[in-house]
Symmetry: C2
Subunit: 525 residues, 2 copies
C-alpha cells in the first residue's frame, strides 16, 4: 500500500483542495511524494457529522465488540509491515530500531486498552438499591455508570509518529471509552498517518462498525485544527505538542458556546536532582546515564532531562567533566523537521548567549541538513532563580545544569519550578533525608517522580502517569499514557428507578457483564 | 453562640473593613444584626497563605485523622443546636422542617465522606511491579496513587444554606480529598455561615490540625470571589449559583497564569417527559406530583421541574387542568432573597408577556415582601423550538408545558435541549418503546435520568450524579453530590522505583492501609 495524498473520512478517501502539504525527509531535505491537498471546513464538517452519527451506536457497543476493534487495529497496523517503517523513517529521520519498537508500543497499547475495556472497571458501576422502608424518607433505586463523552478530536504528535499519532495513545483511549475519533494528522508525517489511518479504516470495516468511528484529516497551518476543536459535535480534545499550540486549542475550546475539555500535553524540562551521596559515590555513572537519556531520540522526548540540579563542589565538577566529555562524543542525530531543528538552534543560541549561562560542552556537529548537536550548559541557582527564561523548554538534546550553594538552595530551585511531567532523584541511602524533604515539593509539581532512573522511556501500564500540573499539561487530573487514560473521555450518568427493560446492560440485576460494582458502598468484584 | 460579623481566617476572627453586608429576613424585610464588614485582598491573602501552609501536612494526614475531622465537623454543627436553625430560618425564609432536614443531610454527607476516606478507594492505588527479566527491556517498579490538588475555593450557595454552603458538599468532598478550603460565604446568610464556620474552626482545633485547613471569608459583590479564584495558591473551585456567576469564575480561572479546574453548578430546567400511556392512565396523579415538586422550597432547587413535555390531546389537556388547579391552590412561599424574588418576577413576567406563551395558572399571591407566586405556562413545541429564550431558567416555582404534535416532535424538543442536571420520564409499560427512543438523547444531555419520580430530592449516596453537560455545570465529568464528588479534587501521581522508605504509606508493600489495589492489572481488595 502506498500513500495517496487523500483525506480519510469514514470509509471514504476524499481529495481536498486546500493548501498543499508535503513531507520532507529531514535526513536529506528531499521532498516526499505524494503532495496532500489540505482539508478545509467541508472535510471537518463531513468527518464530524459521521462521527456524531457513529457515536449513537458505537458508544453502546458491547465490551467485546469494542475490544475486538482495538485488537483488529493493532493487527492491521502490524500487517502494514515494512512499508510503514520505511515511510516513517523517511518522514521523521528516526532510526529503524526506534520505529519498530514504537510500533510494538503502539500495538501493545491498543491491546492493553482492549483488556481494559473487557475488564469493565472504567464503567465504575455503582448501585444504591431502593430502601422503601427507610425513615423518614424511602430511598429510590439509583445506579451509575460512565458513558463516552462524544466525538473526540486527536492531534497527532510530531515526535511519536506511531505511538502518539493517528492510532496512538489518545485515539486508543478515546476509542476504548466509546468515543469516535477525528484525527488531525501531523503535517510532518502525512504518509505514515495515511498508512495507519487506512489500517484503522480497514479494522472499522472488518468489525462492521459505523464508518464515522474514525477519520483522518490533513491540513497545513492551524486553521483546520481550530475548526475541528470549534465544531459543536466534538466533545473533547487530545493534543501533544508545543505550549503555544496547546494554549491556542485551550482558548478555542473555552470560547465555544459549550466549552469542552482539552487534554494538552505541552512542555516539561523534567528536572533531575543529584543528591550529594549519590553524586559523590556514582557521579561518573550518573553522568553517563544522563547523557544517554539526553541524547535519546535526539532529545525529542517530552520527558527529556532538560534540567539537572546539584550542590556545587568537587563531585558536581567531576560530574560536569564526565558529562561534558560524553556530550562532546555525542554523534549528531537528525531532528524530526526543519522547524524543530530551527527552534532547537534558536533555543540553544539563547542559552549560549545568556550572560549568566556558561557552555559546558557541545556534541558533534553532524552532516545532514537538520542535525541535533547536543549541548550542555551550566548556571548558578541564584541566576536560575532570577531568570524565568532559563525554565523555557528547548526541545532537543540540550540541558542545563544548576549549581546550588547547598540543599536549601536546591529546594528553592525545586519550589521555583513550573509543572512538569517528571522529576527525578539520583540518591543513595545517605540521601534519604534530603530526598524526603524534596519529595512533597516534587510531587506537587510533577505527574511522575523517579528514583535512580531516567525520565525518558515511558512504560505503558496501569500505574503510569504521563501528565502533570500546568504547563506540563492542561489538566493535571489525568494521564495520556497508560490504562487510566480512558477516564479522560468518560462522564458519569445516574439512572433513577428505571424499569429493568430500560437499564443499560452494565447496570442490570445479576451483573450480566460480570464487572466490578460498588453496591451500597461495598465493593463486589 | 451569636454571630459576631467577623471573618474566620484559620483559628482567628478578623474584623475587616470593606463594604458592609447585612442579611435581610426575606419574610419580613427586616435587617438582621450583625453587620459584616466585607473582606478584601488582605483577607484573601491571609486565608490563602494559611491554606497553602496547611496543605503541606493536611494532605498527608492518615485516613483515620481525616475521617475524624469530617465526623467532628458534623458533631460540632449538630452541637450548634437551635440557634443555627433559628438564624437560618431568619436569613432564608425557609421553614424549620426543611432546615432541620437539611442539617441532617449536611451532617450525613460529612459522615458519608468520612466512610469514603477510610475505605480508601479514592486513592486508586495501582502497582505494576518490576519485571527485571522482561525482554527486550526490563520493567521498573511503578506505583500510582491520587493526591489532593491543593487549596480549594468554595462558594456558598444561596439555596442550601447548610448542605451547599460553608460546610456543604463541596467543602466536605474537598476536605475528604485532603484539600484545605477557603469558603466565600454567600451574602444572603452570613450569620448561618459564621455559625457553621465556627463549628468547623472548633473541629479543626480539636483535631489538632493546622489552622489553615479552613477559613470563611465574607464580602459583597464579586471582587473578593474573583480575587480568591485568581490567587495562585488556589488549585480548584467549587461553585453553585447562577450561570453568569459560574461563567465569570470560569473565565477568571482560565485567565490565570496557571489555569485551574472550576466545578460550577449553574442552570438547569430539568425537563419532564409525559409519555402517552402514563399520561392517559395517571394524568391526575402525575399532575399533582408535578406541582408538589414544582413548589418544593418555593421552586428554589437546581433540580426544579421547569419544563414539561407532552403530546397534545385530551390527556394533556386534562393534565393541564389538574395541574392548573393545583397551581391556583398553591400558597405563596417566601423566597430566599429580595434579589432572587425580583429575578423570579422578571422571569415570570417575560414568560407572561411572550407572544407565543399562554398562561395556564397562577398560584396565590401571598402577603410577605418576597412571595413566590407559583406560575404555570404552556407553549407549542414549534414555538419552543423557535425561541431559545424559552429555555432560560426561571429560578423559582415556574414551569412551562410544551405541547408536541407527536412523539417525533417530543424527540425534537429533547434534541434541542441544552445540558441538564436531570431528565425525567413519566412512563407506563406501554411507553417503553417511546422511552427507549428518548433515553440516549436524554442521557447525552443530563447527569441523571429518572423514571416515574420527580427530580427534586437529591439522594446523597454513591450512585448519585448531580452534574451534567454545560450549561448545567462547567464540567460534566464530575458530580457535586454523592461520594464520587471527592474525585474532583484529586490528581494521580506515579512513583517510579522509589526506595521503600520514601514511598507513601498507601503504596507500600504489604498494603498497610488495607486499601483496594490494582496490582499488575488485577484487582485486589
Amino acid at each position: 500500500m502506498q500513500p495517496t495524498g487523500q483525506q480519510l473520512i469514514g470509509q471514504q478517501t476524499v481529495a481536498a483542495h486546500g493548501a498543499p502539504i508535503q513531507a520532507i525527509d529531514p535526513a536529506t531535505g528531499e521532498r516526499l511524494e505524494p503532495i496532500y491537498a489540505g482539508g478545509s471546513a467541508a472535510e471537518v464538517e463531513r468527518a464530524c457529522q459521521l462521527a456524531e452519527e457513529a457515536y449513537a451506536t458505537y458508544r453502546e457497543t458491547s465490551l467485546e465488540a469494542r475490544a475486538a476493534l482495538l485488537e483488529a487495529i493493532a493487527a492491521e497496523i502490524e500487517a502494514l509491515g515494512e512499508p510503514l517503517i520505511e515511510r516513517a523513517m523517511a518522514e521523521t529521520g528516526l532510526p529503524r530500531t526506534r520505529l519498530e519498537s514504537e510500533r510494538g508500543r503502539t500495538c501493545g497499547q491498543l491491546r492493553l486498552f482492549a483488556s481494559v475495556v473487557r475488564a469493565g472497571e472504567w464503567l465504575d458501576v455503582r448501585i444504591d438499591p431502593a430502601l422503601p422502608e427507610r425513615q423518614p424518607m424511602p430511598r429510590v433505586d439509583l445506579r451509575q455508570r460512565h458513558v463516552a463523552l462524544g466525538p473526540v478530536a486527536v492531534f497527532g504528535a510530531s515526535n511519536f509518529p506511531l505511538a502518539f499519532s493517528v492510532s496512538g495513545g489518545d485515539s486508543a483511549s478515546a476509542l476504548a471509552a466509546g468515543c469516535p475519533v477525528v484525527v488531525k494528522a501531523h503535517s510532518a508525517h502525512p504518509g505514515t498517518s495515511e498508512l495507519v489511518g487506512r489500517a484503522v479504516q480497514q479494522a472499522v470495516a472488518d468489525c462492521d462498525l459505523p464508518e464515522g468511528v474514525f477519520s483522518v484529516l490533513f491540513g497545513s497551518g492551524n486553521e483546520i485544527g481550530q475548526t475541528l476543536v470549534a465544531d459543536s459535535r466534538i466533545q473533547a480534545v487530545g493534543f501533544t505538542g508545543s505550549r503555544a499550540g496547546g494554549l491556542a486549542l485551550m482558548q478555542t475550546a473555552q470560547a465555544r458556546p459549550q466549552p469542552i475539555p482539552v487534554y494538552a500535553e505541552m512542555s516539561s524540562i523534567n528536572p533531575v536532582f543529584l543528591l550529594p551521596e549519590a553524586l559523590a559515590a556514582r557521579g561518573r555513572e550518573i553522568a553517563e546515564g544522563f547523557v544517554g537519556s539526553l541524547n535519546m531520540g535526539a532529545g525529542q522526548f517530552c520527558t527529556n532531562p532538560g534540567l539537572v540540579i546539584g550542590v556545587k563542589g568537587e563531585a558536581l565538577d567531576a560530574f560536569l567533566t564526565t558529562a561534558g566529555e560524553a556530550v562532546q562524543a555525542s554523534a549528531a542525530q537528525t531532528m524530526l523537521t526543519p522547524g524543530i531543528h530551527a527552534a532547537y538552534q534558536d533555543g540553544v543560541g539563547a542559552l549560549a548567549s545568556h550572560p549568566r549561562v556558561r557552555e559546558v560542552a557541545r556534541g558533534q556537529e553532524g552532516e545532514g541538513p537538520h542535525p541535533c548537536q547536543t549541548a550542555l550548559f551550566a548556571a548558578s541557582a541564584t541566576d536560575f532563580l532570577a531568570s524565568e527564561a532559563l525554565q523555557a523548554e528547548v526541545f532537543g538534546a540540550a540541558s542545563l545544569v544548576i549549581e546550588c550553594a547547598d540543599l536549601a538552595e536546591m529546594r528553592a530551585v525545586a519550589e521555583a519550578l513550573e509543572g512538569q511531567l517528571t522529576a527525578t532523584l539520583q540518591l543513595d541511602d545517605g540521601d534519604l533525608d534530603a530526598a524526603r524533604a524534596l519529595l512533597p515539593v516534587l510531587e506537587r509539581r510533577a505527574g511522575r517522580v523517579l528514583a535512580n532512573g531516567w525520565p525518558t522511556g515511558v512504560e505503558v501500564c496501569h500505574a503510569m502517569v504521563h501528565g502533570g500540573p500546568f504547563p506540563a499539561t492542561s489538566d493535571a487530573r489525568s494521564t495520556s499514557v497508560g490504562s487510566a487514560a480512558i477516564r479522560r473521555f468518560l462522564r458519569p450518568v445516574c439512572y433513577q428507578a428505571l424499569p429493568a427493560g430500560l437499564l443499560p446492560e452494565a447496570l442490570r440485576d445479576g451483573n450480566p457483564q460480570g464487572v466490578t460494582r460498588l453496591v451500597d458502598g461495598r465493593r463486589e468484584s
